[in-house]
Symmetry: D2
Subunit: 427 residues, 4 copies
Amino acid sequence: MQTPIPFYLDEILENVRYLDGGSVADYIPPLAAANPSYLGAALCTTTGHLYSAGDDSEEFTMQSISKPFVYALALQELGFEEVVAVVGMEPSGEAFNELSLNRDDHRPVNPMINAGAMTVTQLINGVDSGVDERVEHIRQYMSRLAGRDLTIDEETCDSELLFAERNLSLAHMLRNYEIIQDDAHDAVVTYTRQCSIQVNVKDLAVISATLANGGTQPITGEKILDPDVCRLTQAVMSSAGMYDGAGRWMAEVGIPAKSGVSGGLLGTLPGQLGIATFSPRLNSEGNSVRGVEAFKRLSQDMGLHLMSTDQRYGIHPIRDVEIINDAWVVRLQGVMNFSAAESILYRLEDYDITADEVLLDFSQVTTVNRIGRVMLKEGLRRMREAGFKIGVIDPDERIKDRTMRDGTQVVRRDDNEDYMINGEELL
Amino acid sequence: MQTPIPFYLDEILENVRYLDGGSVADYIPPLAAANPSYLGAALCTTTGHLYSAGDDSEEFTMQSISKPFVYALALQELGFEEVVAVVGMEPSGEAFNELSLNRDDHRPVNPMINAGAMTVTQLINGVDSGVDERVEHIRQYMSRLAGRDLTIDEETCDSELLFAERNLSLAHMLRNYEIIQDDAHDAVVTYTRQCSIQVNVKDLAVISATLANGGTQPITGEKILDPDVCRLTQAVMSSAGMYDGAGRWMAEVGIPAKSGVSGGLLGTLPGQLGIATFSPRLNSEGNSVRGVEAFKRLSQDMGLHLMSTDQRYGIHPIRDVEIINDAWVVRLQGVMNFSAAESILYRLEDYDITADEVLLDFSQVTTVNRIGRVMLKEGLRRMREAGFKIGVIDPDERIKDRTMRDGTQVVRRDDNEDYMINGEELL
Amino acid sequence: MQTPIPFYLDEILENVRYLDGGSVADYIPPLAAANPSYLGAALCTTTGHLYSAGDDSEEFTMQSISKPFVYALALQELGFEEVVAVVGMEPSGEAFNELSLNRDDHRPVNPMINAGAMTVTQLINGVDSGVDERVEHIRQYMSRLAGRDLTIDEETCDSELLFAERNLSLAHMLRNYEIIQDDAHDAVVTYTRQCSIQVNVKDLAVISATLANGGTQPITGEKILDPDVCRLTQAVMSSAGMYDGAGRWMAEVGIPAKSGVSGGLLGTLPGQLGIATFSPRLNSEGNSVRGVEAFKRLSQDMGLHLMSTDQRYGIHPIRDVEIINDAWVVRLQGVMNFSAAESILYRLEDYDITADEVLLDFSQVTTVNRIGRVMLKEGLRRMREAGFKIGVIDPDERIKDRTMRDGTQVVRRDDNEDYMINGEELL
Amino acid sequence: MQTPIPFYLDEILENVRYLDGGSVADYIPPLAAANPSYLGAALCTTTGHLYSAGDDSEEFTMQSISKPFVYALALQELGFEEVVAVVGMEPSGEAFNELSLNRDDHRPVNPMINAGAMTVTQLINGVDSGVDERVEHIRQYMSRLAGRDLTIDEETCDSELLFAERNLSLAHMLRNYEIIQDDAHDAVVTYTRQCSIQVNVKDLAVISATLANGGTQPITGEKILDPDVCRLTQAVMSSAGMYDGAGRWMAEVGIPAKSGVSGGLLGTLPGQLGIATFSPRLNSEGNSVRGVEAFKRLSQDMGLHLMSTDQRYGIHPIRDVEIINDAWVVRLQGVMNFSAAESILYRLEDYDITADEVLLDFSQVTTVNRIGRVMLKEGLRRMREAGFKIGVIDPDERIKDRTMRDGTQVVRRDDNEDYMINGEELL
């Protein structure tokens, strides 16, 4: 059997193919030469499943799509404070000035506009980095995100540089305000080369899935970015990624996204997946006509809206409860976070527990975050105060430190094979 | 045993109590008279569990916190198009003008600023509604959201009206541009009375949990708003709710939120919970000093960031697989949405299935959305093409229409008791 | 013989009558009822000669034309510092916000925009003035400027008040920022009544000639405003009077001007004259279509551009030099200001004076300003140092104080009838 | 005797010398090296009299002072329409954006801001001009204005070019919008060299007197610019020359002016004079501290305010009336413009003329403009209709064409020596 997901992607592509409005970017020959009928889509889950449809191997330059990822790299290398010192994180609203610099401190308002993106690029590889070293550093990073060696489209880059008046203007103004330290021309060259990294739509899906996955490339498994960095980057994409009409995009589509002038468009659903489309026909705002429509359908048809109130899998974190040897064994499952811990403790409070001992069984738990750990241990401590014996079955040491609030230890009972789960009944 | 959640809320309150900066709003006597030391917090899950701590019964006026909820009401009553015709949904960026009206069409840029909120209020209860009827309509709606009868603080309202110059200015300008149809003074009175509805911090948590729950009040179970309306409202809260610094708020805290000048602050996590704090000390932006800090800690300590890449419960949607009577019975669990269906189909593709028949068991499934239904049926159809017999066990008719792409029906096998799950082993 | 000036005014009117574009203001019935074909013009010199042509007796409401004159009244009553504390004097440039208030201190940017004009009106007759007293005070002042009793068009005023949403918005915002102290509604009523004072085009010419004449009504001779106040008012008219396109107006027309929505338009040439036109057809900016064109022609055809490098009369300030009884009698004429004094002293330096005594004859001098007086006395003192006897013939005591720099007195010789001019030879 | 004007200039300098606030521009070494105590002033009348005081021979670079003069050159070479097509003429108001480009058409708002000035410079010497040719063309033009060969301070220019980030930013943006056609870097070099032309304070006075004199250099007598060009340039200086606070400058000082960062400040009084000061101490707005104060005093003490209602010389244009051989001979004097003709005709209407013939005597008239000529001939024609014989005495043919409205000719009577004035009695 073959999974029908490519089929669904294909269906979405067919449903937007009729849109023949818009036109390819024509300000430089290499972009003007793009085939307007190209149409591709890809989706990569945080579990590393990659699906694609249409023209999924055609390469194009990243352009503005590179912005959030280089921003993430800067956050990773320098930390939040150093980055926010030179570039803000507010939406630009109605473009209130040509340059979108803050009125007072002249920082670019966010890293998704060109002034902000160039500022961010200049932070990479150390302030003293040469142009070539900085570009190569970025290229290698993007390649790790994509899971394959990406190359730079030198012809497109050279053409861009012939029509870079606006970026040169921005770079000189940033230099004027000492927001960037390098020569303005070098800054534009570096940024333009970054924008000229070539990808296909599958690369974009994988790259965005890495963000959605908290920084671990879902296919190679490489840990590239910290979860904090990914969280922040996606927050900025959500408020400023589709700048003209960011509010309406988040309301209607609800997927943090970024588009590029060569026709690419990518989005992330934190914890779930990365999506991308490729179609070079652009609307007047410079977004892919078919890409925007495809995302609207993906959001509606697939229920992929960030503000969707659907629960993700919706399983109760208590798998079952069994009485074994006069102990209530509460079998937990999945991720133990705040919501899960709340559900478990709420349920425990309700049970009319007839046994002397209560054991929480972590065998089927995948991860436990800090608050989950703290809450479950505190729940056990309170049960002990209520007169029960307590303990855990925790063969993978999910709860790590077994010390409770009052300094006592929670007993681990999985040394007692009486309480061992019979793994056979599970997949 | 008592759940430790109130204890954690309490801990957060104690951790922010040291913040004695800021001061209570003092532009009208009733607000100036607020006790600056009041401090309360509450949390309500979409499953209807309500926790609170501190001064959780003190009443205060909703003020701006009423904005997103009346916006939701307008969307519910009039639909998206009619509402967006008079008020935009873009962040205001650096306040580029005094009134925050769009340059071209003079619509308020979003419903979270006063001009937008007054415009929205004027849509409620029909364009011909009298002031009293409109206010009563809103009061009743807010009461349904809170699950108890809310009252209007007439003294605060009267005081506000004595200092309403700015709102009167906005209302006259909206009237000038025919964005509102009513008399400007009436519009201000209506809006001010709406702002004077009294709540406590538990009400706020419940009200926001209703948004997070897709419009169904999680305690009373009343269906008040559509999921689409809630999605949209939360999207607008995320981009414009904490207007000065909305981008940074979403990056650092990551919880769609709204604050009021009387010291309330509420936030939602779609699908999960509503949270609220109450502390009347305000910073220079008019947000509660302790409330803002409490939300930062809630986000960090409890992992409640919207862009968090933590999976919610993280359970695999396949509970287990059992061979019964030469059939592979694949037991599904939780919500069948796009991500779940993708996981299931991906896994099925991998199995080396040794039986002649494959059955999907929906007994433990809680809900199935459209795309989940479509994908799972298509997966079954493809297995049949691959030579298997196929069927479902679906005692609650989760998949509703059993017709597949090719017009054939998927067979339901739960009439055959051989395949019935033994309910006992589950909670 | 009749002067041909009315004939020229008539000619200009005929030359612009073909312009049948634009339309009368139609936002209130009394303005909408204006006869679009009305066309009149008037010109009043600072010497009090009044000429007019066309529909010169039709009355219409002053509207915005009242702004500069009430501004002048405020300056006269309160002085520069108190006025500038609440309203700026900068051009508004491209209207950068709806209200045209300064970003920082919320003062209206200048008194020619509505917010500024209402602020100014509130200064008149003392901060405690009632509405009726303030309006009556302004009406009487305008009547003195016009030289006849002006009345208020109550019907137009009442209509305006029904459509005053924008002004009410401005007034409430001014009240909000405490720029005005009165009730917003009263402020709008006061301002609207001021705008409803009825004039004809001759009144406008006379009123503006009063400004051009340094505050002395040129026909009645009443001293109403100080020259400083008139200078300042005309400066503000020049930079902000025709707000949309003020720069281009000053470049092309070069006449400080103000227009009103009822079709009036007036301008001043400092020291020379006031001009006015009346034609109710308005262009999209709210200026009289024919009025604007008439002013362009007046400026070009009559050489009335403020930056015109034509000398006004261009007479040399030395009328003649005669030798009487071994004295050089230098007969001066006209106004002795800086330029005149410079010319005289420059010429004296050149003469090969063959007499022992030099007398400056002020008999034909009309006025002497401070710098003129100082320079001429210093010139005489230096001639004395060069060995001449010096003195003045000054029957009208134009130079007032005859003390020179070194404390000595310049001798007055018109007591000596030998030096008396024979009046007969003059007009 | 020596004229006391230098003495007055000196007095003004001494009165502002106490101002030791502000500091020299320090962004480049050559400016930072300026002697902060330098202080000079100069004044040049349109009659070509040049006065100066203080450090009047110290040279400094023109900087922004070059802007209005190159603007005038562009107007002269290309005409109004071509210039206004690329640069506006509106004041910038509160700087509403970093670049001061119009929102819609991206033209710089006026030629006094850097973006506008660079745009104007690029118009000079033809669009195809090389950098060196364009600079040389400007240098030669400035030299003609100054009446001596000016040179470029190459060291300052080179230093400026090292710190030209802001101008480079502007130039690239202008290039981006195709407002300028040249390479951005070349545009900055050209403009910077223009700014580096060296002058002393006397040159500035002479240069501005040329503007005030309608384009004729008052000392060399060379006709360099048209009066229209000068009128327009001074109008733009008046509305945008002292950009921050242009309105207040015109109200308080009332002299169209332009300042430069090297400490120069010049102003014009149309038809009267040019003034300049030099003192390198700058205030926070970049204007010369002492220069600004000196101009305030010049305006107040010398009565040099553009809106001053003082009449310039204030002589009546009728010198006298004499009866010669049964003819009324009306002797005119000075400039025959609109105001003069109005005065004459008004007076004629009043006379009880007892003779049969009326003659206007133009012997003492200096110039007659078009409207003056038209009005006086029409006045004569009407006297003829009233029954008088009419004629002119016009030895210098001031009225040129003697044809009147009805096609008849006005008779010239100066062929008749009876009517000849006896020149002796005049200077």
